[in-house]
Subunit: 269 residues, 2 copies
Amino acid sequence: MNNNAIGVFDSGVGGLTCVSELQKILPHEDIIYLGDTARIPYGTKSKETVFEYAKQDVAFFRKHNVKMIIVACGTVSAVMMTYPIFENDELSSGVLYPAVKAACEATKNKRIGVIATSASIKSGGYGKAIREIIPDAKLVGQACPMFVPLVENGYTDRDNEVAKIIARDYLQVMIDEDVDTLIMGCTHYPLLKDIIGDILGNKVSLISPGAEAAKYALNALTENNMLSANNENGKLELYCTDSVELFTENVKTILGSDINGEIFRTTLK
Amino acid sequence: MNNNAIGVFDSGVGGLTCVSELQKILPHEDIIYLGDTARIPYGTKSKETVFEYAKQDVAFFRKHNVKMIIVACGTVSAVMMTYPIFENDELSSGVLYPAVKAACEATKNKRIGVIATSASIKSGGYGKAIREIIPDAKLVGQACPMFVPLVENGYTDRDNEVAKIIARDYLQVMIDEDVDTLIMGCTHYPLLKDIIGDILGNKVSLISPGAEAAKYALNALTENNMLSANNENGKLELYCTDSVELFTENVKTILGSDINGEIFRTTLK
């Protein structure tokens, strides 16, 4: 048993989709969330810069003595495949491996698509991880740089004309390449799931990285006998690097919900 | 005469549109450009965070001993109306005042529109500056958070369906409010000028902040007898805070041109 909190971070509020999944399957766990809102987004930056920021995010959690760190940011998860940010003895997970594992289990024709930020696609991390499990898998990667702004500005309704045109444009390659499984490799993308699903049809399995990372955390904590002994609902503490007001506003706009925990401002260095 | 360089900064490569205007009307001046690409964008961040970043940008130029600093970032220009970043004796300009001055000269019906980032609109800086010149002017402000991603991802062709839908949505209020002059209050926006012009028609004057800031610099340097004594074309030195490779790539994607100066990476603190 271990009552320390689980740490979860992302460049903004998107990683809270992973927190919701954690709260569903691990309701007694305390969670500390960090959103690096003063430097969002990570996905358009170079891998060296993403690496620098990620190291600072991890250092924040080491100070808070968490029992596990979850990288709820697709970009950091992809970049850390070649630029490691964790020590070997740290219990940690990105969203990449759990999503890749789920995709490899779901695919029947071994043709897997990945949509993600430019930095994630450029990193080559997805291909590397998929080929470790299915050496002859075909990976179709597509950077979708307009998806984050679409989500952040509320263009997410199933019948939103702008979102549909942009999504069709990005996803056509997945239809052409006959993928049967698609990893939505950025925590923002599941908010466009309806539109993506309408375009690809119901024969393509859509993998949500946040949900898969939450399942991975449940397994890892159980195996290591590190589940919380709390019987009550866990607490959620949130930290952001830009203003608390802006964070609250973004949660409402982007996730369409209120925060159920206390929010603090912090500085990373 | 003063042969020191002019310093120009923005959060990314957008401010280079201002540099081109400077090079046209002040061809003998050396220019040092700074793009804070590791923390781009500024326009979605809080005013306190924009202020912190802007102070660091200015400190960079003080170290480089420039004779004038031009803030080619609409967001910083708006925020610094209430959070000053310059000393009284520094020769400097944002893009806000020159654009507002041009708009006040252009308007006939005293109904002026401003499109800008969320941070700029929230700052109230445009209203304040316009009312100093025309106390009874009507200001119509509209945040256009999708315009920067549209420009950065190349959705700028006159007949681009996505850009047209989004722009019509943002600009309808300008038609409803009968503005006769529109300030494009972010250095990215002039790249959408054709689409904006088609929607508003040719009776609305479009004001480009980069071009107005360049004219302001010409006047200020002339009045202060600080023009360069060089007879040859001035040099351009560029600094960015993320990778040089990414900077070069963005200049090509966003501005459709190559860089005509040497690029260095720097760190701000």
